[in-house]
């Protein structure tokens, strides 16, 4: 039992921390090479809306309009001279900015990014205020007295008695 306790001591946690950092470093920095063309086409087409469908991306849609855009993306990928962003910009030029499924981070569209951040801040600040108030209330009450414990014990005894009846 004591050995188990010792096993759970802080040095074991330190070893665990080092193992996690090492594994994450190895895994996240390993070079798996560039995406294969199929995966790159999928990745770009996921970010483009089908111009004539209802709420589908070019990746999901099987509409001829989507097939045409996918063919355009495929040609650009196999051409190999443009980056993903350049291919997206070229599609936005041809079909209009509304085909891009990721809203921009400027102007009115920035709200879609800013509001969740504001929501998170409000949640965190709200929690901070709530805990501060609860802590102040607890401090004002002080520790429970012996009388308080007696009252609780009496109530428990009463209930136990009721349960046995």
């Amino acid at each position: 039992m004591r050995r188990l306790k010792r096993l759970r001591s802080w040095p074991s946690w330190a070893a665990m921390f080092i193992a996690v950092v090492a594994l994450l470093a190895v895994g996240s920095t390993r070079d798996t090479g560039p995406l294969n063309p199929g995966d790159r086409i999928d990745s770009i087409s996921r970010r483009v809306a089908c111009p004539v469908c209802d709420g589908e991306s070019v990746f999901e849609s099987r509409n001829p309009a989507s097939e045409a855009i996918r063919a355009e993306i495929r040609a650009s990928v196999y051409d190999g001279t443009s980056t993903d962003d350049e291919i997206l910009a070229s599609i936005a030029n041809s079909y209009g900015g509304k085909v891009l499924l990721v809203p921009s981070s400027s102007g009115f569209d920035a709200l879609i990014w800013a509001l969740p951040a504001a929501g998170l801040m409000i949640g965190l600040v709200g929690l901070w205020f709530a805990f501060r108030r609860w802590r102040a209330e607890a401090a004002a009450l002080g520790l429970p007295s012996l009388d308080d414990y007696s009252l609780v014990e009496e109530a428990r005894q009463r209930r136990r008695g009721q349960e046995h009846e």
């Binding site: 074991s12 294969n36 589908e56």
Partner: protein
């Protein structure tokens, strides 16, 4: 005949629910106990009326009664019987009728469950609320969205087009919508009790205990409904995904998120008598979001691939949503003083602190999903231009939220109520944390890369270890009964969620795809698999022509991705063929716009290799089992007044 019977059934439902609401409310206010005892009778009449309407609709679909407009649009002599049953919910009017029957059954179930307490004011007001909700839906179904409206005169020999081909292409359409509706509508019962508690002023924990299983049952059905929708998408739509952040999918996720927050935070109220306003607000939000979601997706204000059922009831739904929100918030404000909880949360590092954090994260998640869903509408209103918000936005923001939730799932189960010491955390988290390290090590060993999925696997192992620890301790104490009850069944649900989260992280991060052009008889190798084009086969029926490309996969079995042309609609639907496995799926499709000819020399095959997809469905099954187990009573039930697990502070003598 069918139309007359159906209309009669809906009229009976409408009259019984509206008279029931009025008569019960008058009986409560006037203290008329005799009239109160009759309140559940209206529920029985409602069930009878709604059942009659559904039977009439099913008969009309079965008999192809083309005197009815709805049957003209979704009926067809070529539709197989099972899909003919499902045709009822393939368009707006039938969906609302499905809502009516499910709500009627819940209202009847609620009335039956509490029939012995029918003269209790809380139960009676809850019945009034359910009757009012029933009145609204019966009114919509009898009026603007009537499934029994007469159709135009049709020529002799007329045959309808049948349901949308996507809705007669897989057996899951029989289960996915009804289960989703059971989940949506089921929340009406706890919502009704919450409103009844506010009206009567009995805002303690009694109404929560009464409705705990109803909320859990509805949440479980909603969960299964959503997962079956993902499965349907995977098996039918041909893009190899399960979730596209489509507005209709988001509309089902919103009440699930607030409902999930509720079934966690309600534990704090049951145990500590706290978070009363918050819990009421979550329940109101869950119910209201089902109405808002229906409005958003059925009104056509937001486009969706699921728009099988757009119609003209947006004003009714929006009005009802507004009434629900205003009345609920008004009642919460009115009972503000009574709702003030006497206790406090002592420390953020405690079970209730973790539940609170969980609730903030779920509320933020729901806010993001709602914002992303309605943002195109806001842009159109304020800027008069069109925009689309799609999966990349939701993926980017939901990923960190998912990781935080996995972390909370790992830590919360080991936290005691009230407060936790560093020593307690160190002892209780030790083995779960090592499970996380082991999961990470396995992921790295099998070649996983990129930080986000690696962190997801690590946290998945950590959370799985915490849930497993809890179950091991419980089963050591109580044997198999240790798997039953709120806390232990809940841990099984957590394991299901973790399996789904890990499967999603793996399949979203490590899917590979390619478009292969293969000549007849040629064998092509890609991503460790071989594909041989064997030939093209066809299947011709009165309903559809099916063209299948037979592909020998890994020299073992022939798979046949197909393109089905539905003759009545003239619409082609590609159907994927999938080889499922515990480590990965191989998903094959062919282009629906250009199906191969019977003597084609080559095919263009789209191939996806998707890791761990099977674990999504296994996780869903585990969640379903866990939900059932957590609804069963455990051996040792704690009361809110039982001593808590935190050590008592030192006594002050004097």
């Amino acid at each position: 005949m069918s139309a007359a019977l159906g209309n009669a059934g809906l009229l009976v439902t409408l009259v019984a629910s509206s008279v029931g609401a009025l008569a019960t409310a008058v009986a409560i206010i006037g203290g008329n106990r005799r009239a109160l005892r009759q309140a559940p009778i209206y529920a029985a009449i409602i069930v009878g009326g709604a059942t009659l309407a559904v039977i009439a609709m099913q008969w009309a679909l079965f008999a192809r009664d083309y005197s009815i407009d709805f049957v003209q649009r979704v009926g067809s002599s070529t539709t197989p019987t099972l899909y003919n049953v499902a045709a009822m919910w393939s368009a707006l009017e039938g969906s609302i009728l499905l809502w009516v029957i499910v709500l009627a059954l819940f209202t009847g179930g609620g009335a039956l469950r509490f029939v012995r307490r029918r003269d209790d004011e809380l139960v009676a007001w809850a019945l009034v609320v359910m009757y009012v909700v029933m009145t609204f839906f019966a009114l919509v179904s009898f009026g603007p969205a009537s499934p029994f409206a007469p159709g135009a005169t049709v020529p002799v020999g007329f045959d309808g087009p049948g349901p949308n081909p996507l809705l007669q292409n897989h057996v899951l359409v029989l289960f996915h919508p009804p289960l989703l509706y059971l989940g949506y509508v089921g929340f009406t019962v706890p919502f009704a009790f919450a409103i009844a508690a506010l009206i009567t002023g009995r805002v303690g924990e009694g109404w929560l205990l009464e409705t705990r299983r109803w909320a859990l049952f509805s949440w479980g059905l909603l969960t299964i409904g959503i997962l079956l929708g993902g499965w349907w998408s995977y098996e039918v739509l041909g893009w190899s995904g399960v979730w596209a952040w489509d507005p209709v999918e988001n509309a089902s996720l919103l009440p699930w998120l607030t409902g999930t927050a509720y079934i966690h935070s309600v534990l704090v109220q049951q145990r500590r008598g706290m978070l009363r306003v918050w819990n009421l607000s979550l329940l109101v939000a869950t119910f209201a979001l089902t109405i808002l979601g229906t409005f958003l997706t059925r009104s056509g204000v937001i486009n969706s691939v699921h728009a099988f059922a757009a119609g003209e009831i947006d004003g009714y739904l929006l009005g009802f949503f507004g009434i629900v929100v205003v009345i609920s918030l008004g009642l919460i404000g009115w009972r503000g003083d009574a709702l003030r909880a006497p206790g406090r949360i002592d420390s953020p590092i405690s079970r209730e602190g973790a539940f609170l954090a969980n609730n903030v994260v779920f509320a933020l998640f729901a806010f993001i999903v709602l914002l992303g869903t309605v943002f195109p509408l806001l842009v159109e209103v304020f800027q008069d231009r069109q925009t689309v918000v799609g999966a990349p936005y939701f993926d980017r923001l939901s990923m960190p939220i998912g990781l935080i939730l996995l972390f909370l799932m790992a830590v919360a189960p080991v936290l005691p109520w009230r407060t936790a010491s560093a020593g307690t955390l160190r002892d209780r988290l030790f083995w779960p944390a090592w499970c996380g390290v082991a999961a990470l090590a396995v992921a790295v060993a099998v070649g996983a890369d990129r930080l986000a999925p690696l962190v997801a696997f690590m946290l998945g192992g950590f959370a799985g270890g915490a849930a497993g620890r809890q179950l091991v301790l419980a089963t050591r104490r109580q044997g198999l009964r240790g798997l039953v009850g709120r806390a232990n069944g809940g841990m099984l649900v957590h394991i299901g969620v973790i399996l789904i989260a890990v499967a999603l992280a793996a399949s979203n991060s490590y899917t590979h795809s390619a478009t292969l052009t293969i000549e007849r008889g040629e064998r092509v190798e890609w991503a460790g698999h071989s594909f041989e084009f064997v030939g093209v086969s066809t299947e011709v029926t009165a309903r559809a022509d099916v063209v299948m490309a037979d592909v020998l996969l890994d020299d073992s079995k022939v798979y046949a991705p197909a393109v089905t042309t539905y003759l009545q609609q003239g619409m082609t639907v590609p159907t994927p063929s999938v080889r499922s496995g515990f480590t990965s799926d191989v998903y094959l499709t062919i282009d629906g716009n250009d199906p191969p000819a019977i003597d084609a020399d080559e095919i263009v095959l789209r191939v996806f290799v998707k890791p761990m997809v099977l674990w999504l469905w296994i996780g869903g099954a585990v969640m379903a089992i866990g939900t059932v187990l957590s609804a069963l009573p455990s051996k040792r039930s704690r009361r809110p007044t039982d001593p808590t697990s935190a050590p008592m502070p030192e006594m002050q003598h004097g």
